[in-house]
Symmetry: C2
Subunit: 194 residues, 2 copies
């Protein structure tokens, strides 16, 4: 009885989507390893027998869940941020969204931590390329020459993912809301000079 033997909410019937949703939840808080079928079944109030009707294997669920997340991310984060023209605002928005929209970033952090898994490796690569391109374009628009834009984008992105890694899960003296905002402001000020 370590932690999450809790819920067991018995909705009537389940669909594949329900499993994917539940998988994303535990993925966000427990990492890839925590996505286990028997455990998931318990939190959904059913048993393995149910799972293997909807999915052929655990990997299939993982892939489906991650694909769903990537799709939502493409729409919400990218689609929304991409419309902001000012790179300063764009970067601010990206970092601000780490505090709200926690779920999505938690999943990303979990995936980062399991980047050696053959299933998530290509996902991380795609996401990284995409976001890096987004940042690079932003800096280029802001007047940076291509080379500098690439470097600055990489710096911003590594700072972003390093931040996720060092905060969301463990250690690092916790920041309160005010300190967090001050930090974000500092990052913007440092990485997006006038």
């Amino acid at each position: 009885m370590t932690s999450a033997e809790t819920k067991a909410e018995p909705r009537g019937r389940l669909s594949a989507t329900d499993w994917e949703q539940a998988a994303l939840d535990v993925l966000a808080h427990g990492g890839v390893a925590a996505v286990a079928v028997e455990s998931l079944a318990r939190t959904l109030g059913v048993t393995k027998g149910s799972f293997y009707w909807h999915f052929p294997t655990r990997e299939a669920l993982l892939k489906a869940a991650i694909d769903r997340w990537e799709q939502r991310d493409e729409d919400q984060v990218i689609g929304h941020v991409e419309r902001i023209v000012d790179p300063r605002e764009r970067l601010r928005e990206l970092f601000q969204r780490v505090s709200r929209e926690v779920q999505s970033h938690l999943v990303y952090a979990a995936l980062l931590q399991a980047s050696d898994h053959p299933l998530v490796q290509p996902v991380i690569e795609r996401i990284s390329k995409r976001r890096l391109a987004l940042l690079t374009a932003a800096y280029a628009e802001a007047g940076f020459d291509p080379r500098t834009a690439r470097h600055r984008a990489r710096l911003a992105y590594t700072a972003y993912s390093g931040f996720l890694q060092l905060n969301q899960r463990h250690g690092m003296p916790r920041m309160d809301q005010e300190e967090y905002q001050a930090y974000i402001d500092h990052v913007i000020e440092t990485l997006v000079p006038a």
Copy 2:
């Protein structure tokens, strides 16, 4: 026969230190999960029977190996960098060392990825605190007010660990040596203004 069933170099006898050394090697390249006793035994040219003479459990080996690494890190990286007074030079040295001294940083990256493991969690916390303090002190010496120094240090450190995470293992369009140097220079220029 996935990958590393190779070596099997039969030195005469083995000591606990040999096992710790080998553990660090596979830890650096395969992560914490790759530190498996039977696998390690094969690469050392022996069997499990040998291992359990030197160590009571796998966790014990892991702890010993990580302790050894942390000790070496304390001496080499910190001890050496700490003597550099100019923070600009100190930061440059820290980032430069990511290319040389690969082993140590690879281990750190592997530990970062397994930061949920009860054995490495306190290690990461210690290391993070220590390095963050190092950077904070450097920025403070350089004339930053305490609050800004903390923020800048955090930014530099997250950029550092994010860089490790996104490069050393997987994805991210590989940088050649020249590009890498240019990037480092850009980071220094950006994070350590005159």
